[in-house]
Symmetry: C2
Subunit: 364 residues, 2 copies
């Protein structure tokens, strides 16, 4: 069956493209001598994680305990939970996973470490800790320097915890290649400052985790990092494309949607809105619109309601008709995948089954 015959709206995944994307990143990390610990937040799917591990990934990255549970339950080991988990209920579940699997957690403050420690010992579990520093995004993370060393020492003194290294996020590396190169230099300087503090303190650092998809092509130039944890690269999206980090044909995830109304002049309405795409705006390129219409790129997906997508077709020569199936590449594939209970697989358009998005909605 051709994938275009499935009921719409539906999120489709081109497996040939996925394999190419995964091969490419695995080869890049080998070339750079970096471990690859993919972030599963993009696909949220054990089957895709398996393909990443099979290509040499050193482990997986997850964002919440629920994601860790799904991946541990699917048999994966060596999980980095790259989020400073808080709260008795969440930590109880985390400790249960950490009893069964090698786990790392990132944190940037003593209070979190002091909550984590008794939660681990209560279940006779232990966890490796990465101290998070801020490489420039201004989200989480200590200023690189002595404060990181102080926190690492505190962590090492707490039962059930072991300081394993440092973590940061290269989220500030964004935009066109020139912008990304310039920011990568600033990020590299901050990574260097963090590592210098540990050298001065003669404290060994096993792991230095950084990364993101847009920074991956430049990661080889950031001295001191040992592994990266890109997520988006498995499927790519229009944000990645507009940054020049992938080509359109590397975008494996595409929403099939049907034109359901052309009654209003200048408009075509599709059966996919913010509950299908997510309402994430484009953060790169033209910074407008909610997706890229493959069959008619001049048509702009200018607005989303929950189940309606508004195409402005005034600038398009395409003859839109009710019942026509369109292919739309989402702005941000990570939030788009999270809207879907399953994704529909194909190879060159020929349907090839589906994957349940097993970790969809795992916000805790």
């Amino acid at each position: 069956m051709n994938i275009r015959e499935i009921p719409t709206p539906a999120l489709t995944i081109d497996l040939d493209v996925v394999e190419r994307n995964l091969d490419h990143m695995a080869a890049r990390c080998r070339e750079y001598g970096l471990g690859l610990r993919p972030h599963i937040k993009t696909h949220k799917t054990p089957e895709a994680a398996r393909m990443q591990i099979d290509r040499g990934a050193v482990g997986l990255t997850v964002a919440k305990v629920g994601e860790a549970e799904v991946m541990a339950g699917a048999g994966f080991d060596d999980l980095l939970l790259a989020f400073p988990i808080w709260g008795a209920g969440n930590l109880r579940r985390l400790a249960a996973v950490a009893r069964q699997r090698r786990m790392l957690l990132s944190l940037d403050n003593e209070a979190t470490a002091r909550e984590l420690s008794p939660a681990m010992t209560a279940q006779e579990a232990s966890i490796g800790v990465l101290v998070e520093f801020d490489a420039g995004l201004g989200r989480c993370g200590l200023e690189p320097g002595p404060a990181c060393v102080d926190l690492a020492r505190t962590v090492d003194g707490l039962p059930g915890l072991r300081f394993r290294g440092l973590m940061t996020y290269f989220g500030s590396v964004w935009g066109n290649e020139e912008d990304r190169r310039a920011e990568t230099e600033r990020v590299a300087a901050r990574v260097g400052r963090a590592l210098s503090a540990f050298e001065e303190a003669r404290m060994p650092v096993d792991i230095v985790s950084g990364g993101s998809t847009p920074s991956a092509p430049l990661a080889g130039g950031i001295k001191g990092i040992t592994e990266i944890r890109p997520g988006t690269y498995v499927y790519n999206d229009i944000n990645t494309y507009y940054q020049g980090v992938c080509a359109l044909e590397d975008c494996a995830a595409r929403v099939l949607a049907t034109v359901v109304s052309t009654a209003v002049p200048g408009r075509a309405i599709i059966d996919a809105g913010s509950k299908t795409f997510s309402s994430d705006l484009l953060g790169s390129g033209p910074k407008s619109g909610y997706g890229y219409v493959v069959e008619a790129p001049e048509a702009k997906l200018v607005k989303l309601n929950e189940e309606h997508g508004y195409l402005d077709i005034a600038g398009s020569a395409h003859a839109f008709r009710v019942g026509e199936v369109l292919t739309v590449i989402p702005n941000h594939v990570c939030t788009c995948v999270n809207m879907h209970d399953e994704v529909f697989l194909h190879r060159s358009g020929e349907a090839a089954g589906c994957w349940r998005v097993a970790a969809r909605g795992k916000i805790r």
Copy 2:
């Protein structure tokens, strides 16, 4: 147990507020002599739908076949599917519901009617059709006038379909009270034009469905409509509040989130991002920010990543500390609820069970 003790992030629902919101809208519709057919897209939950029916709602409104299946499966009858469904697979499922329950569907073009008819007859089902016209939003719907009558006649000539009336959406009624009043007058004129065309054609119209939450207080002034289908009013949100359509204390749905990092000066990071709130921007009031922080309204939720919320705390006197639980009212409750597998109920802060969001993610 106090609701604030549950693991975060979590979407909580104040049942006392829900009951008050439902009572208020039911009383308003009785006063206006309008049928109330609530749109379940907001709560996506049979338990909330039951409370609406128990207060006199004439039926329910749904947006996709999957929502209809959930509500029909929970025993509800008289469902309006307010979306021009297309595609053999979707229509097959629709016909299966229509065999069991009284159903209405809106559409604005002949092609959709001609797809719908054989899908119904193939299962010996029938469905009522509302012809959709555009009251001013420019989304779906014919221009009010003779084209609506022509489509109604076509519908009535097709097996399995019966023309039942008209539908439109008052989505253009938005903003402060003055804006909403002015637009309501324009909407009323367009409703009048649609009805005049049917009067001239001597074609009876049973149902004239309009509505939305922001237009509800003004719906009594729109001559000719027989029922409205607001959705948001069950929970309300910050978009509703900034339009002056509800008070803050009428916002029943609130996200509990924990501060997990204060390492970056001027920032507090919470454990709820776009996968908890949705990334819907504020469409009313200040039109910036991703939610309203009850404990510290001067703190602005300026940015969301998938699992991180960025609070700009520079303008707030509140002393944010890691581990603190904050209460955030979402911008747009319909897309927020759709991120959650369950919502946590309380009365005056005392936990009162949870509801599964049974129709979450039903995009088809």
